[in-house]
Symmetry: C2
Subunit: 410 residues, 2 copies
């Protein structure tokens, strides 16, 4: 049974996620426990005509051992050849599939300064590669698999096997693998998201206003901003799905135009550390004050990464009654939690979210209001108490969301 | 119990195998099932002062899927960046630990031409890296772990868990991990091998003569040949152990000086295919005729890799009563089988086996009689029926081995 579902999931990742084309290289980032799925994905990728399938395995225990025992200076370095490898594959038109299953508690006893150093070193080394992907120069996709640590975090009262089986059920449900024809179901889902995207793109609101418990925020949108959601199209014209599951529609804010305060509604798992119960106060786009009940140091290191880490790069709307949200679970996994709640992201904006952005240099993007940073970190602010309004160019205030649900007719 | 043994094994690999020095990078090649050992090795390596520990994982099922499904042209390519990565680590003085656990039957239904193409592509891409290691410019070591497929091949009548446990026992025994102080035991073992090495180096035989069932071979040794065995010393002066276990003493033959016929005594697992019951006929150093009861095509592809693949690059002597041999098992794993029997190797010679060799260019090495090739493949010819004689420079014939045992007094 699981084997058949795994095959359907693999097929979905290959055909709908990265949408492998004949002759392409598929580069897979995979944690060790995902091996059974990765093998199915490799088979399906070759079936779809892939030339090479390269798997870059990772082991969270080796990661932990590094953070625990490596000398300080090692954490400031990232292997050049490993970064160059991704760039080489990207420049030759490869596709990138990441299997995402972070352990929320992995680094809880590690000094956040050590984690921050390593995160920054990796971000710097991988900057060129990540920029290519964020501009959709390559097809890429993010999917999840249960790992023992993640499953136990989501279902703490179950034993390990039960928790893993239950988490598989949830994953298969929200990625539509449990439906007869998942590929068809994704087509319908992408069409639904496209209708919301079209509505918002036609409106070209100049501001959004967020109102909820602890949240009172005004966000300016740049001229020519583009809402996106569901399927994306690479610069070579290949349609792919960057996230599975996905329920969001998103655009870029103007990097200098956010004012007010926002409070998170779900814990954020930042590189193996939890940040929760936090508020950010913005003035002219920049975080000028912040608090956190959990993970204050980790949040501080995130905000101090660089100039752009204190500004927003993405605003995303997700109805509170999304399938993932209805599960009433906290996943401690951004791929899931961001698609269960409206969210914002600190850091780099997607160049695809502004007209002509994928052909602009960084300076031009900055001038147009697109934020730049080594980081891009989503955090969840949606709930059944969130209201969102749009301000049109004529100054008219219109409801977009009420009590966490769409207030627009599409 | 296993955990404690794993820790001792890890410590041995780090301290005696690659002998990690402070500030070094340790690069580990590891199959997925070796994860528990690799984690212990990473801990011990950081304890010993390693700066970075990088693990390059491999999965034999992914390898099989590639050979089964990838397009033909893909098999002729090896990722440049992956080869460059090893070179970068090597040039910066890194140490290399390979965990070796090949599945003898992995590729038995794959066309040998496909396997040969991929093997050659990898050898070409990794040529610079492998040359560095064969000249001991970096510390390197090869150790083994049981995998389900390998364990079942060695112990076909046991169930999987029992076979794995039994194979661990054998590994711990032959690597001396079962002794109270394995590091001390290796010191004593290396001293014993050094006495044989000294004896043979003092003799400077000009020829060896092999005599056994199906074997009648004369091998010329080049002037200034060096016998080696046990611990090696890197060009930076670090003592390390390239193979664990190791029971051999070895030197290089003159590439043009082998004549006669030789028959193998144990099956050879060449990249996932078995070659067995084979004979090679040499004339002036070159294989001019060959037969094989099993794996004829695989042997043909090996011999056809390049000019040097038809000539010998190593001759090694192992007493028949070596600890590994006494287990009376066939391991289908060259690391074990070569240390259970006298053997020869087709292909590249170790530059360390001739005076001044590690500073010579390929042309000079060839001139001195050292063979060069993309391959270096050991095959076993020892048994309780093998006799080996040496011919001194004065033409005196002296016994070296009788009935597979040392006939020299050391
Ligand atoms: Zn988002
Ligand atoms: Zn985002
Ligand atoms: Zn050997
Ligand atoms: Zn050898």
């Amino acid at each position: 049974m699981l084997e058949k579902q795994l095959q359907k999931y693999a097929q979905l990742a290959v055909r709908v996620g990265v949408n492998i084309q004949p002759g392409q290289t598929l580069f897979i980032n995979a944690p060790l426990p995902s091996a059974p799925l990765v093998r199915e994905i490799a088979k399906k990728a070759y079936e779809a005509g892939a030339k090479h399938v390269h798997v870059e395995w990772s082991d969270e225990e080796i990661t932990y051992i590094k953070f625990k025992h490596a000398p300080e200076e090692a954490l400031h370095e990232y292997p050049t050849w490993l970064a160059k490898g991704r760039e080489e594959v990207a420049e030759k038109g490869g596709a990138f599939l990441s299997i995402y299953a972070p352990n929320p508690d992995l680094l809880k006893d590690i000094d956040p300064a050590r984690v921050a150093a390593a995160t920054k070193a990796a971000s710097m080394a991988l900057q060129h590669y990540r920029s290519r992907l964020m501009a959709d120069h390559n097809c890429w996709s993010l999917i999840a698999v249960p790992t023992p640590a993640w499953a136990k975090k989501v279902f703490p009262n179950m034993d390990e096997d039960e928790a893993i089986a239950k988490l598989w059920d949830v994953i298969f449900q929200v990625t539509r693998v449990d439906q007869d024809d998942p590929i068809d179901a994704w087509k319908a889902h992408n069409e639904k998201l496209a209708r919301i995207v079209d509505y918002l793109n036609n409106k070209q609101y100049k501001q959004l206003i967020y109102d909820g418990p602890g949240t009172n925020l005004t966000v300016a949108l740049p001229d020519g901003h583009i809402w996106a959601g569901g399927a994306a199209k690479s610069t070579d014209g290949i349609v792919f799905n960057p996230n599975m599951p996905t329920e969001e529609v998103f655009t870029m804010p103007h990097k200098d135009g956010t004012n007010g305060v926002v409070r998170n509604t779900k814990p954020l798992n930042y590189g193996g550390n939890i940040i929760d119960g936090f508020t950010l106060t913005f003035k002219d786009g920049k975080v000028v004050d912040f608090t956190a009940e959990v993970g204050y140091d980790t949040l501080k290191h995130l905000l101090d990464t660089d100039e752009g880490a204190r500004r927003l790069g993405e605003i995303a709307l997700v109805p509170h009654r999304s399938p993932i949200s209805q599960s009433n679970l906290v996943f401690y996994n951004t791929l899931f939690d961001e698609n269960a709640a409206s969210h914002l992201a600190l850091g780099k904006a997607y160049p695809t979210n502004i007209e002509g952005g994928t052909n602009m240099r960084t300076e031009e993007l900055l001038e147009r209001g697109a934020n730049d940073s080594l980081v891009h970190e989503d955090f969840m602010i949606g709930s059944h108490e969130l209201n969102v309004d749009g301000i049109t160019k004529d100054g008219v205030r219109e409801p977009i969301m009420r009590n966490g649900e769409w207030a627009i007719s599409i």
